[in-house]
């Protein structure tokens, strides 16, 4: 399969036509505090990587699984979720989708539901015939923030290095 077939044909031809629905369903469960569908969607191999919207980076199934458990525990329901697809590419055993995700949810400690807008990149790999997410990269920078933000946060990152095992959220 040629990777430069444009979307959505690339996604359909690769057997990924239901991917947006599967991601949305997994996110909706997540926002209700249940990370089960997300864990089914993820690769359980050692190179599975999550660069989550709350920051940091985790590689390997054990750390990724722990991170999804912790993140799910911070949501207490009232989920609404949607996505706007920006681009997608597919090959025989690898696919990528680039989206803006919008979530509305109740967060532990917050009295009112809040809206999150995330830029997301997902990479999927066909493993034993099933498509699995090998990378989720999500961040809250859906609006322009400029260079000051970049280096201020970088300084904070230097002071508090991320945990490779997915501590905190």
């Amino acid at each position: 399969m040629n990777a430069d077939v444009p979307r959505p044909a690339a996604r359909d031809a690769a057997g990924l036509d239901d991917l947006p629905d599967r991601l949305d369903r997994a996110n909706a469960h997540m926002l209700d505090g249940d990370c089960g569908p997300w864990k089914e969607l993820l690769s359980h191999r050692e190179d599975v990587s999550v660069l989550g919207a709350y920051g940091g980076h985790v590689r390997g199934w054990q750390g990724v699984s722990a991170r999804f458990e912790r993140t799910a525990s911070g949501y207490v329901g009232h989920a609404e979720t949607s996505r706007e697809n920006i681009a997608a590419w597919g090959a025989d055993d690898l696919a990528c989708t680039v989206d803006i995700e919008t979530h509305r949810s109740r967060v532990a400690g917050q009295p009112e539901p809040v809206t999150f807008r995330y830029r997301t990149t997902h990479v999927l790999r066909r493993e034993d015939g099933a498509w699995r997410v090998v990378l989720r990269h999500a961040d809250p920078l859906a609006t322009f923030v400029g260079p000051d933000f970049a280096h201020v946060d970088a300084q904070r990152a230097t002071t508090h290095p991320p945990s490779p095992t997915g501590e905190l959220r």
Binding site: N2, V114, L141, F144, G146
Partner: protein, 148 residues
Amino acid sequence: MTEDPSLNEAIDRTAAAAETFVTGDPDAYTALWSTGGDVTIFGAFGDGVLGRDELVRRLAWAAARFDGGELAYEPMAAQASGDLGYAVGIERGRVRVGGQGPHEMALRVTHVFRREAGQWRLVHRHADPITAVTPPTAVLGDIPVGQP
């Protein structure tokens, strides 16, 4: 590194071009991109760009915010299948940016590559500076509650 030597070389070229980029010169990095209309960047300054023309403008603008530094690439994972490949890692270094610095900078970066006429070309970059874990409410700062 992957089992595909040509993708490994493309990842190395990308890392070298990213280091040139923070000296204020966008040309080497811009040259790595596909000229197709479906190229996208989720850049470290926020927002997104879609398409070649917008991408070239944004890279030129972003490179001009930098006036020197050094940057190293720490790979996390990468793979190729057919004519599609990806690489995820951390770009870390010291840069002068936005007229200030030098500052430590660390970016989480995903690159997506497509092989075109035998050559790996970039079709997507996703970069952000949140290498530190933050509480969920921290991501709400710039986002009005209730925004659709």
